[in-house]
């Protein structure tokens, strides 16, 4: 939500594992099951849900802060021709998240929110959400 000014003029679709209530301000919204690398069955459900959403919405750009759901969205989006942005969560202070390390290899633009985690080959630092 704190990135919203960057999406001005774009058609926005939100996907989250959490109920957003009215917080999306009228933008289309899809809810997906939360999963992580230890919950294999939920990961499958999440994957199927994400395939369906991406086929319906056909995004031009996929932006994610993580983690497992975001990584899946990024890979699928990329496969369907979308350009992808990974913004590693500000919660990862000492090192990139595991999903972040994997996403660095596939995202068109990969950003960290901590200057000391930036690397010449990516992720880069451009600022943080705070």
């Amino acid at each position: 939500m704190r990135l919203r000014p960057a999406f001005r003029g774009c058609e926005i679709v939100f996907v989250s594992t959490l109920d957003q209530g009215n917080a999306t301000g009228g933008a289309r919204f899809h809810r997906v099951p939360d999963a992580n690398r230890f919950e294999k069955l939920t990961l499958v459900k999440l994957f199927v849900a994400m395939v369906r959403i991406l086929l319906v919405e056909r995004p031009d750009v996929v932006v994610s802060t993580g983690a497992a759901p975001g990584y899946i969205a990024l890979r699928l989006g990329s496969l369907l021709g979308a350009r992808t942005v990974w913004i590693d969560s500000i919660a990862n202070v000492d090192e990139l998240s595991m999903s972040g390390r994997m996403a660095t290899k596939v995202a068109d633009l990969c950003l960290t929110q901590w200057p000391h985690l930036a690397r010449p080959e990516g992720p880069h630092f451009a600022g943080s959400v705070v």
Partner: protein, 182 residues
Amino acid sequence: MIFVTVGVQLPFDRLIRAMDDWAGRHGRDDVVAQVGESAYVPHTIDVRPRLAADEFRAYVERAELVVAHAGMGSILTALELGKPIIVMPRRAALGEHRNDHQLATSRRMASHAAITVAQDGDDLVRMLDASDIPVVPQRIASHADDGLINELTSFIAQPPAQPRFVGRFLRRPRLGFSFGEQ
């Protein structure tokens, strides 16, 4: 009102129990907690398993103090609404999260005027007893750093990539697409 939140992904009963004991001892009937999938049944505090994002924000807005796990969603909401927040990091060794990133988050965020870090339940209770709660001067801006916004804006403005694979046959008009709670 004190609003307590441990997010909704994982339980954090060590924090909820400490708050419940404290509220019971002080006869506080104005403590509301979002507890996620917790098995702990509190005696005193009022619990909600999970709140929608806008309800969550409304509780933070009403609170005089936020007590939370060291999750960025909780911290950002408190800072945006100008509320003091005490955070207590989850520990992987106690099965409270997959790794210790909340310890790192609290170390980095501790320098912020509105944020106080409690290392454990006893520490938290000491702070509440001492009413050692900082006065928060003002709310932070409602959006991210300009640098980050500009980087994203210019990336989005670039011409679309050559559609790969399935995308070649299924193009549809421009769409922004976002994910996450931040």
